[in-house]
Amino acid sequence: MTGWLSPSDWEAVRLSLRVAFWATAVSLPLGIFTAYALARWEFWGKQLVNGIVHLPLILPPVVTGYLLLLTFGRRGPVGHLLEQWFGLVFAFRWTGAALATGIMAFPLMVRAIRLAVEAVDPRLEQAAGTLGAGRLWIFVTVTLPLILPGILVGAVLAFARAMGEFGATITFVSNIPGQTQTLPSAIYTVLQVPGGEGEAMRLVIISVVVAMTALVLSEWLGRALARRIAGA
């Protein structure tokens, strides 16, 4: 196996997994919150928030990456403060890759979860209210379990997107083997070399295998959830 892929390729695989995992895990709570707010609340600036959430989908990834660089870079207004206050640095770190892929995947996640929230029968939430549950508890005990399939879909979409994202990542955190060289960056690199198709294909296969595993797992989990609710 080690002969099949170079150690730095393996490094890229490991890094991509880590980046995609954290990008998904960290953005999930925020994604759920945002989706719920957009689906159920009326507030000033809602359309603005909705627009901002979709921005990474609309903008070419390089632009997103560039904007991230300007904002979260060491000298960027946010990056600067984060470093000063929390010692949190994104630039040239895998955390930056996670931030970039997380942001790129965010609209997908939010949309999936929002669709699920909108499909929840509000009469069930009302029933929970009459049984004494406050808003938070209604959310936790009724809404959340009912949107689990949607959350699952959102998470898988985000994970898959995070595994495949390239443009924003390389623009924001560049391509430092072992630190920010994710699978797509590695693939891109070898594809730019004449005759690099063979190695690229091997990396693509790994990428596909990882994402498919996540996909099949999620399908399986989704079915289990659906069966549970159908009441077998």
Binding site: L124, A127, G129, T130, L131, W137, I138, P145, I229
Partner: protein
């Protein structure tokens, strides 16, 4: 607890404007399909914010359009058995039943899971999810769920409509106990006059979004004028009686103002005061005391009112002491027997005619 309800609400094409008071006990909302019952109940629960008005429990405002008060449903502690069961599909029956427990004050006593499960016959269903329940089973779980949430007021929107007679017969005494022993005030929507007659201490007749009549159940139900509202077949009076003793052949002897009454065994200790509903159509009138008949209960009474409707029948109000009976007879018989206020007649009543459904424990909230 006394519930004061007075509000207006407009839907496109439907206008609701109601005001009534629900004293302690069970208040029945009765009215045709689409008359506004569910809307009223929703407003009390806090699921609907009426356009204007005021809803208060024991003076504490739940809603007041003037002051802008609107208490959220979960702060009202009002249990609600919905017309559609609304069970949580992702929870098992047991989890559904216990849902309200998480939020109920821990120190207050209330119904126990086992007791409710037994009563509602849910024992074998506890680990199923609602998707695998029959219509009636769902309704029973919804009933149990509301009761177990230790509410201070219970709203029930046709809770027994999907249930068979024998299941109803098991549940009704329990609702009476909730009403009387725990003293839980109940707002109850039903199309069944016999259910209402048995359970209600107060009756509110709703029609086209307006309150037609509201008052103590005995009054509203014994009122010949109000009878058509329930359907003539369900007209009847409520007698307050006390248990006198149980006899060997399975009958229970009751003391009424008109004399002794024998009914099939009633599980109540001697001395217990009961409400017995006697349907107008089950009362036969005779000028002389009949002999050699199967009817055991023959009460001497005096006609106090004869109410002729549009049809071939007449509703006759009979007085014995301070109690009333209603009898429904044909106009032809009314003439043949020359029924008029003051005429003395015997009311003949079969022991078996008084459906057990219409025997209720005297509610503390009753008149």
């Amino acid at each position: 607890m006394t519930l004061q309800v007075a509000f207006r609400h407009r839907f496109a094409g439907f206008d609701l404007d109601v005001a009534f008071e629900a004293p302690p006990g069970l208040t029945a909302l009765f009215g045709r399909s689409g008359s506004g019952k569910t809307t009223i109940v929703n407003a009390v629960a806090g699921l609907l914010r009426p356009d204007s008005g005021r809803i208060a429990a024991d003076g504490a405002e739940l809603f007041d359009s003037d002051s802008g008060t609107f208490l959220r449903p979960n702060l009202r502690r009002i249990g609600y058995v919905f017309q559609d069961a609304r069970l949580f599909p992702h929870f098992t029956v047991r989890q559904n039943l216990l849902y309200g427990r998480w939020f109920a004050p821990k120190n207050e006593t209330g119904a126990e899971l086992e007791q409710v499960v037994d009563l509602l016959g849910l024992g074998t269903l506890l680990n199923r999810r609602p998707g695998a329940l029959s219509g009636g089973e769902k309704q029973r779980v919804a009933l149990g769920r509301a009761i177990l949430s230790k509410p201070r007021l219970l709203l029930m929107d046709e809770p027994l409509a999907a249930l068979d007679e024998s299941r109803k017969a098991e549940i009704l005494p329990y609702l009476e106990r909730l009403r009387d022993e725990i003293g839980l005030p109940i707002l109850y929507v039903s199309h069944s006059a016999s259910e209402i007659a048995r359970l209600a201490t107060t009756v509110v007749l709703v029609d086209h979004g307006r309150v037609l009549r509201a008052g103590p159940a005995e009054e509203v139900l014994s009122d010949p004028e109000a009878a058509p509202g329930f359907g003539l077949r369900e007209a009847g009076a409520i007698l307050t009686v006390s248990v006198d003793g149980h006899e060997a052949d399975g009958l229970t002897r009751l003391a009424s103002e008109g004399g002794p009454l024998w009914l099939p065994r009633i599980a109540a200790a001697p001395g217990t005061v009961l409400r017995v509903r006697v349907l107008a159509q089950d009362v036969m009138l005779a000028l002389e005391r009949p002999q050699g008949v199967s009817a055991l209960n023959i009460l001497p009474t005096e006609v106090s009112e004869v109410h002729h409707g549009h049809g071939p029948g007449a509703l006759v109000q009979l007085t014995m002491g301070k109690s009333h009976l209603l009898a429904r007879v044909t106009r032809r018989s009314a003439e043949a027997l020359a029924l008029a206020p003051g005429r003395r007649v015997y009311a003949v009543l079969k022991a078996v005619s008084v459906a057990s459904v219409s025997i209720g424990a005297e509610s503390p909230g009753g008149t």
